[in-house]
Symmetry: D2
Subunit: 292 residues, 4 copies
């Protein structure tokens, strides 16, 4: 396939690379052009114009936030302005439900197709082509993306024809992870103030009830109090909880635990946690209790 | 071993049965004596006196709550009054940290040994001898229990020589499960109001990020709104969160998520949820949002 | 003074009327022009163009929300486009801190002066000229407004030269009222389930500790469960808590009680409380407890 | 009247003194007998036996907590053991609803009368005879107390014939004050991080919406960050919120704001606030936001 790929950050670089390796003809664009160099070495074509990345059947965007996506997709000479009739834009970034709705409308008006396809997985999973892809949009539009998705992820889940549903699922998934982090933070604050070894406790939990890797990985970071370097930085966590709450507000769903998480992230950032992993919210319960 | 077993409820019956099967000489006691009949058929000896159950090297108690344990252990003709010098009482019930401390003191004064050994696992796991046992107490006292524990559980975790630490771990584990239930309840309220199929959503979650069985089992109940019959009834859930918060208060650890859970359980019970599974707190977020 | 007045809602009508009565030369504008009729009878001049309302030394806006203010002030042929050099815009609406900052910048660029001057008080207080006015902006700009403010309120508080500070104070004041409503709701849910007469209880409170009228008025509504007609409708309450939290997020201040209120308002709206007074959040605690 | 008075702490000393001044024949008892000296100088009779204080028509207890009341009233040679037939015990301490129920039952069994009559007011109000008294119990029993209450308070509110209702009202009142403190703490954290002078802000609030003295007094302490010496110490605040939540749990009323307060008090105590005024919970919001 002839694919444009926009956004060569921690996630995007590995993803674009996998597309190249899979034999697709890939044109990459990044605001800071030097990020494209390694991909060009792998066989990609680099461009300094978004328009060039929109010349094929499919363009994928993988950007940091709403602001970046809005500017790249809806801006002058952006994706909507450039993409051909019936071509597909697969937006894989974690963005707001509201923006996804706007993109869907803009692409429809322009005679283009739009798939929201955010992913679960960290940069290592992106590099290994092991992401989980949550795709929503018209069935045929998703079908058109499958050759690309096959190179990017280990599985694609289809969850309906309204693109923004995929964004809602992605945000809710990050909420669930943050909720787990908070629960571990409180439990560890309790047992460690009760004199129990945090490591022993965590091993017990993760070899019995909570065997999912997400408990082991985050639990280990929390038990050791090691939040740097950040795998997923606190401001990104705060952003995702904000977007979750914004989507929930639009649907009039009160989410008390999400509200609690919102307050934790604000506290973490107010106290200088900008560069920490988002799981550092877990140490706030310990701090409140006079530990550490 | 010559073992006394006190408390033949949903959990205790299967546990006592496994002790008999493993070849131990078991004397069972239950307040309502008819519960002992099936065990007698398996080869246990039944008694109507707690004292008789305390004649061996080890007596195990598996009772519903603090009140029952207090009366059986500390009452006249109870375990402390009956147990021989150096014999061991293994308390496997889920009770408060404060009561466990009192039991430890009472047994020490009486020249007896005390192990707190609460378990993780539902009645099916108890019947199958697949419990996880969290044991704390003097090393030699735990050693003395191992032949029994081998018949009851798939693994015994030792977490130190202060018995009440085991109770704290057990309570915190139930807190973590309840926290997970709440998080799923909120996430499902959000996505289902957003038009996403709850089953599809849950399958996605539990085949990617949250592969632990505890997510699958509770998630399934929540997605289907099926909270009867109760595997673990709401009043028991409320009790465990209350005990968690009591332990946290004694240690001066603020647990915000546990406070949130406390309020959920009170609401569930105030609205008639007495006979529902404790995971029914998950439907409160949906109700708040006008669903169901 | 020659004053333009934009926005003839529940609050604005009484305010404009007081300006006329005080002898000012008032030009009124309202999107739905029929609202102007009674004012014209009092001596005001009506216009169908915002520009006409901006011909004097001072224009006052009193509108429903950010959206209305943004469109009236920043739109084509709006206040910024129309107001004369050095003339003053006094924005008395309850709007976001962020919008107030944008208005300040826009007016500064256009060589105009800007005062944020939101008010405390219900429509009756507006009609009686008894509002409390919270003013921020350049001292001389506030001075220029004083002849008008004298007709509108019983007192003007100056809280500095950054206009948005006045908006922050206004929002925080509404937060404090909502917090009081929540506290009364919980206390009344408790004592009434405990068999105590709600009216007797409230009389006791408001004649001892909580003598402020705000406790008496809202307390009475809550004790009687009478939330219609709405003096200040639930969606407006929700909006103000949202704006409070947005300002707090920008400043990185976690406000847990505000988060709790946010969830209450969402629940109230999700359950059909659109037309109720915002104090109806107080009945949610009673509902949670199985009352009413 | 011939009155016994038990408990000469900050509150009790002033109260007993007012009874003496009013011409009653007062016998005082305090665990530490030296506290009685000033009262003897005023004309009271001191005793080292609770029994002596129970020889008249009325005995009043004013003690620190449940534990003290339980021991004085229900202990050997305590009030229940000593009081004459049909004599009245007026319990004016702030205690739990559950203890008040136990006292009512014990006095009924012993053929004595019992009135719960907790008070609102600080030590200065106690010394000035300006307390507000919340009385519940049999009408004639309250009537019998009125000559004493007239000397102690500015007003007596009768709220029914179940004594424990008075305790519930008292606890809920302290909850409302703590809720107000929390709301002020969050509002001040917000506006002060927004650059607004805390004093100016507080003056504005308390001269407009929140004119009750309780806002002025606590607001002043919070604005100035002056929490020592404690008028009402943090551990007492924590105790009262605990008792409020215990009463609410028994009635199955979820009180979210009370839960929030519970967490605040635990945090304050865990961080060394033992000797601060309970209003110091208000500084936690500021600390969370990186201020101070």
């Amino acid at each position: 396939m002839k694919i444009g790929f926009i956004g060569l950050g921690h996630m995007g670089t590995g993803m674009a690379c996998n597309l190249v390796k899979a034999g697709h003809e890939v044109t990459v664009y990044n605001r800071s052009p030097e990020k494209a160099t390694p991909l060009v070495e792998q066989g990609a074509r680099a461009t300094s114009e978004i328009t060039d990345a929109c010349a094929g059947e499919l363009v994928i965007t993988m950007l940091a936030d709403d602001h970046a996506v809005e500017s790249v997709v809806l801006g002058a000479s952006g994706v909507v302005a450039s993409l051909g009739n019936n071509a597909v834009h697969a937006s894989m970034s974690t963005v707001s439900v509201a923006l996804s709705e706007r993109l869907a409308a803009a692409h429809a008006t322009a005679g283009q197709r739009y798939v929201a396809a955010p992913v679960f997985g960290r940069p290592e999973a992106a590099a290994a082509g092991k992401l989980f892809i949550v795709a929503a949009g018209a069935d045929q539009a998703i079908d058109a993306c499958l050759p690309a998705f096959a190179a990017l992820g280990q599985k694609t889940f289809r969850i309906g024809d309204r693109p923004e549903a995929a964004n809602l699922v992605k945000l809710s998934g990050n909420f669930l992870i943050a909720a787990m982090i908070e629960s571990l933070g409180e439990a560890l604050a309790l047992v460690s103030k009760g004199g129990i070894d945090r490591r022993v406790y965590l091993d017990l939990l993760t070899s019995t009830l909570f065997t999912a890797p997400v408990y082991k990985n985050y639990g280990g970071m929390i038990a050791e109090g090691k939040f740097e370097p950040a795998g997923f930085a606190a401001p990104l966590g705060q952003k995702d909880i904000r977007l979750t709450l914004a989507a929930a507000e639009a649907l009039r769903v009160a989410m008390r635990l999400a509200s609690l998480l919102r307050d934790r992230f604000l506290t973490l950032l107010a106290q200088g946690g900008e560069n920490l992993d988002w799981s550092a919210i877990a140490r706030l319960a310990a701090k409140d209790s006079g530990q550490g």
